[in-house]
């Protein structure tokens, strides 16, 4: 009884392996057959690659498919930025779509880039979670004819055509240092509350802020530590608590991330430190409005993410229409934002950040 049972099971096992083999073969056959058809009809048409000639007078094409790939979908900041992109695409008459991962991890964007390239997207506007992880996929997308514009967070310059920078890192660092120096009266201990430890843009800004603080006019300001709130609300909240407890003489906190700034403001507003410890950084008016009005935060800075997305869409369209190739010195017009010139390494800068305070915070809605 037992033996026959066992033999039966073994036979079942073998047949199951057989079934698996058939399944694999079928899948691969499907794929392989597809392979030949793709080569026949998916030849990317030549739209003037980076090596081609720029024709500044070429009209913007009105049949472009422009896809926005944020670090994470359902992230309010990127929802606004992508919304700006959608406005721009509406203006020049293309097709807009948004696609992206639900988690902001380095590798999760790769399959989305692959999908977009597979769909024959003309322009991919990407905010990269990691400068290298998406490179392979972007290369293959560009080989297939897509133009790649990064915004907010860049990849390695070799993997994209253009980077739309929200503001130069120097501008961002300088603005925040100026704001905190003004708020703490030019002397005291300050700390930085950052996002994740390996966020590219955060680390670049922090390095520049350190440089800025080394200048003689800030000699009395000491940067005591950098804490990481991982761009998670709760973690940022806890890290703020930790900072205030560890550094009793802390005069101010800079949080160059919207999540961190909002969490720190909420903690301060409900604690004994409200108004005592200065807080500034990068934040959105909608999130910070309350804390500006209740006196927790005097002023903070940010660019308009909608303008960022808007500019990225126009830059991508200019590339795909052959107006520009991404070389330094070329110029293009970005709708109502006006003319932009491409800088070194294919970087376009949106402009200096906007400072929000009691007087103007109610004028913005994002």
């Amino acid at each position: 009884m037992l033996r026959s049972d066992r033999r039966g099971r073994r036979r079942g096992g073998a047949s199951r392996v057989g079934v698996a083999a058939v399944a694999w073969t079928a899948l691969l056959a499907t794929a392989a057959c597809g392979g030949t058809t793709r080569d026949e009809n998916a030849e990317p048409e030549d739209r003037g690659g980076p090596t081609g000639e720029a024709d500044p007078d070429a009209p913007l094409r009105d049949d472009l498919v422009v896809a926005f790939l944020p670090k994470q979908v359902n992230n309010p900041y990127f929802t606004v930025a992508d919304g700006g992109g959608e406005t721009a695409v509406g203006e020049f008459g293309g097709e807009y779509k948004e696609s992206g991962p639900t988690e902001a991890s380095a590798s999760s964007q790769v399959s989305h880039v692959n999908t977009l390239s597979q769909q024959g997207t003309d322009v991919i506007a990407l905010a990269a979670n990691d400068p290298n992880a998406v490179c392979g996929a972007l290369d293959s997308a560009r080989d297939a004819g897509a133009r790649v514009v990064t915004f907010d967070s860049d990849t390695n310059p070799g993997c994209r055509d253009l980077f739309v920078n929200q503001a130069t890192a120097e501008d961002i660092a300088r603005t925040q240092v100026e704001l905190i120096a003004e708020q703490i009266g030019g002397e005291g201990e300050v700390a930085i509350l950052s996002a994740t430890p390996n966020a590219t843009n955060q680390n670049a800004w922090i390095a520049l802020m350190e440089e800025e603080l080394a200048a003689p006019e800030y000699a009395d300001i000491e940067l005591v530590t950098v804490a990481y709130g991982n761009d998670e609300d709760e973690k940022s909240f806890q890290e703020t608590q930790g900072l205030l407890r560890s550094y009793p003489d802390l005069a101010g906190i800079i949080s160059p991330t919207t999540v961190g700034l909002a969490a720190a403001a909420r903690y301060l507003s409900g604690s004994e430190f409200q108004g005592e410890v200065a807080l500034t950084g990068l934040g959105t008016p909608n999130q910070m409005r309350e804390y500006v009005h209740d006196g927790t935060v005097e002023s903070f800075a940010l660019w308009d993410p909608a303008e960022l997305g808007y500019l990225a869409a126009y830059a991508g369209a200019a590339l795909a229409s052959g107006q520009i190739t991404g070389a330094e010195g070329e110029t293009f017009t970005a709708g109502e934002l006006g003319d932009y010139t491409i800088g070194a390494d294919g970087v376009v800068v949106l402009g200096p950040p906007t400072v929000f305070e009691e007087g103007n915070v109610d004028d913005y809605d994002f």
Partner: protein, 352 residues
């Protein structure tokens, strides 16, 4: 510990007497059903979804499935013995981080790869020791090492991302066999899957694993070294996770401490969808391979069809629920029917 298997639902214990015979058809039917579902989804996507049936898309799809597919193989064996390993994704991350650190410090890459896989084996052995030598529940142990290994990965590599791996290695990770559809990495995974399949379904060792999962006590009495078998499964699971870490690092050309975060749930979902019983003792490798591919194909096809990422979560979760509810409901209905038949049979005899 009175029970070696995981969350035995209070209503039902696996392999209990006659119930096992009556439901023995379920896994066989389930993996066949899954393979058919896979073929249907592939065919449907090829017909309905623009850009699905191309070699390039197959390459993308299969590349995405490699890491989950690799880790699912040893996980299948572990779950069949009634244990679970939730630390696989953290093992992957720690091996990736160590790989980056060793590469930074100038080790030759060949050696780095070997070291990463060996480290994976050691991490798996730590799990194995806790589970078998100390007799602790694997669910709790591997939740602990899930946190510990991920934490260590950050300790090792911190906020860095090591990205300067040689180009011929990173491109080898995505290179395809002639034809442009089948990545070599998937060929390797498939070969490994065949090896695992043979071991599980065609060797005495494999049969022992089923015996352990069905009833560890009985297995022990019949002379199977239960603890030793489980220990080595954890070691293999760690080593393969380390290998997946190497693949991940090279494929994304970046060694980071957060690589593969959250992958453990995707792997467990694929294994369970593949028809492996969480109680142990039941399931086939073919079913798991079909499960991995089905999830991969669905993800790819839905993405191509511009279905939002959140819908994918709903689909994955629903499939998982269906994968246990449907076979169970069918089995229960069958059992009730059989009972009714028997009942009527005696009835007739009585009066006939």
């Amino acid at each position: 510990m009175a029970h070696d298997s995981l969350y035995a639902s209070p209503q039902r214990r696996p392999g209990a007497g006659r119930g096992r015979r009556r439901t023995a058809w379920v896994p066989r039917r389930w993996d066949a059903a899954l393979v058919s579902a896979l073929l249907l989804v592939v065919l449907g996507s090829a017909l309905l979804v623009d850009g699905f049936a191309t070699g390039r898309n197959a390459q993308f799809l299969l590349l995405d499935a490699v890491a989950i597919g690799l880790v699912a193989l040893p996980m299948t064996l572990v779950v069949i013995t009634g244990e679970i390993d939730l630390s696989v994704a953290s093992t992957l991350g720690l091996c990736s981080a160590v790989m980056g650190q060793l590469w930074l410090s100038g080790w030759p890459l060949e050696l780095v790869v070997v070291a990463a896989v060996a480290l994976g084996a050691v991490l798996g052995a730590v799990n194995g020791v806790f589970v078998t030598a100390f007799g602790l529940p694997s669910l709790a142990v591997t939740i602990g090492t899930l946190a510990a290994y991920r934490g260590l990965a950050f300790v090792v590599l911190g906020d860095q991302a090591v990205a300067d791996f040689p180009g011929d290695w990173t491109s080898a990770a995505v290179e395809t066999a002639p034809g442009g559809a089948l990545p070599w990495a998937m060929v390797g995974t498939a070969l490994l899957a065949v090896a695992f399949g043979v071991v599980l379904h065609a060797t005495p060792f494999g049969r022992e694993l089923y015996a352990i999962g069905s009833n560890a006590e009985a297995a022990r009495f019949s002379g199977i070294p239960v603890a030793r078998r489980k220990f080595w499964l954890f070691v293999v699971c760690g080593a393969v996770s380390g290998l997946a870490g190497v693949y991940w690092t090279l494929r994304y050309a970046s060694a980071r401490a957060d690589n593969g975060e959250g992958l453990e749930l995707a792997v467990v979902a694929a294994v369970l969808l593949g028809g492996v019983s969480i109680f142990g003792g039941r399931g086939t490798l073919a079913g798991v391979c079909a499960g991995v591919l089905l999830l991969g194909v669905l993800r790819n096809a839905l993405q191509l069809a511009d279905v939002a990422a959140d819908t994918l979560d709903i689909v994955t979760g629903s499939l998982l629920i269906v994968s246990v509810v449907v076979p169970n409901a069918v089995a229960m209905a069958r059992a009730r029917l059989a009972r009714k038949d028997r009942h009527e049979g005696t009835h007739e005899r009585k009066f006939g």
